[in-house]
Subunit: 260 residues, 2 copies
């Protein structure tokens, strides 16, 4: 018998996970959204799936109820839905497991560390999933759901999910800001951001292969104060300050005896 | 008749470019290195190529003499080699064109914006090349050499190469430092840097697709001061300061009415 899943939510994460679970041999029995249109759109993409916009219509028979909605709405859904016997799980990095307690005695988190865009193809097998559960048996079950999608299944309680969030801010949000600075600097000379794309990809490949500590290069690693000063002179004051701070941190991290 | 190229240098860049030019239908007539062993190693990988360790043995007949050595050695080579009729070009981002003047009346720069590691495969067709030359005809010729390797050929004088260098520091060196911070934060909770790799790749894809300005997300974009303060509390003082600075710059860049 196929595992029965109810998807609560019809946004990007809900859509990607619904398809991924169906492809992994599960039956998405129902799709709930406040908007019946949204529920119907997703349900119509799936096999034999019922769209609903009323939580009282939730089937009692599903093995997994996956709440994939905005962080702030998770607790509200868990309070509003009828209590069920199956596992109730959310997919959020920042909502505590306890928010689900009203909905089931068996609660879990299934947090994919990935950004999902509606039309962008995601290689789900490559996405790391972080799980947490109310008890050992539920953890075993949610892990086995996660492993249907990906080989990369890790455990993370609320505290460790916070670490992952910080990691995401540092490695993606702040990095994207530096790419924005790069794009501005390049645009002033008529170049597009895409000219550095191959270099950035090679840098990431190297950081993954040998670790970012060993992969560090650049003027700061050579204590090349003359080059760094020239660079700062060409940047606006805000960016020059960031340049100075980051260069000093690199020299400090690598215990180099120099400072700007 | 195949274009005749002499490769001066036998390091990573020289090796990758020698193979790429041979694959693109050129004949690498000679490989020079101070070390005959190094010259021989590279020459033996090529078709009908002579290894030399004495600049006085340079053929006078080559169309292009490509100097691909450490930045500091480019001028020394150009002074030590016999003056030739062909184009003498270097591959450095930071050496001025004028350093080549003693070696030929036709000088050029062929600067690949990529990092080359000996054994890592590089998709040369995807590498942006930046050219500069002593005169219009030489520029045309070096561009046509560059286009044998890649569709991405741009012009850059010394000043614009400096811009590209700054772009590389911001988009790669500083970004790698943030990945190093990420790796440290993750390691404290037992996770490897690779758990964020799919997220970072998706972030880069999005930045390339829609531009990093439009791609910016994260707590700073939501002015979520509570989350940002929680994150800073968990970081060591140096990283917390960087977190604060970068968050403030993101909020300023996007003209959000908030500040940490």
């Amino acid at each position: 018998m196929l595992p029965e899943i109810v998807i609560i939510g019809a946004g990007n994460v809900a859509t990607h996970l619904a398809h991924a679970f169906q492809n992994a041999g599960c039956h998405i029995a129902q799709v709930y959204s406040r908007s019946l249109d949204h529920a119907s759109r997703l349900a119509s993409e799936l096999k034999d799936s019922q769209p609903i916009d009323d939580l009282s219509l939730l089937t009692k028979e599903a093995d997994l109820y996956l709440i994939s909605v905005a962080d702030a709405a998770v607790a509200t859904i868990a309070e509003a839905m009828p209590k069920v016997k199956g596992i109730v799980a959310h997919t959020s990095g920042s909502v505590p497991l306890a928010a689900l307690t009203p909905a089931s005695d068996r609660t879990a988190v299934l947090y994919p560390l990935q950004t999902f865009t509606r039309d962008a193809v995601v290689d789900i097998a490559n996405v790391p999933f972080f799980t947490e559960a109310s008890d050992a048996k539920t953890l075993e079950d949610i892990d086995s759901f996660a492993r249907r999608l990906s080989d990369k299944v890790y455990h993370a309680d609320s505290d460790k999910r916070k670490t992952l969030h910080i990691a995401g801010v540092l490695s993606c949000n702040f990095v994207n800001y530096l790419w924005d600075c790069t794009a501005q600097v390049l645009a002033a000379d008529g170049y597009d951001f895409s000219v550095v794309e191959p270099l950035v990809r090679a840098t990431l490949d190297k950081a993954v292969a040998i670790g970012p500590r060993a992969a560090q290069t650049g003027p700061a690693m050579r204590c090349d104060a003359e080059v760094m000063r020239q660079h700062m002179e060409r940047l606006d004051p805000d960016k020059a300050r960031i340049y100075c701070e980051l260069s000093n941190e690199i020299m400090k991290t690598h215990k180099l005896d120099c400072k700007l």
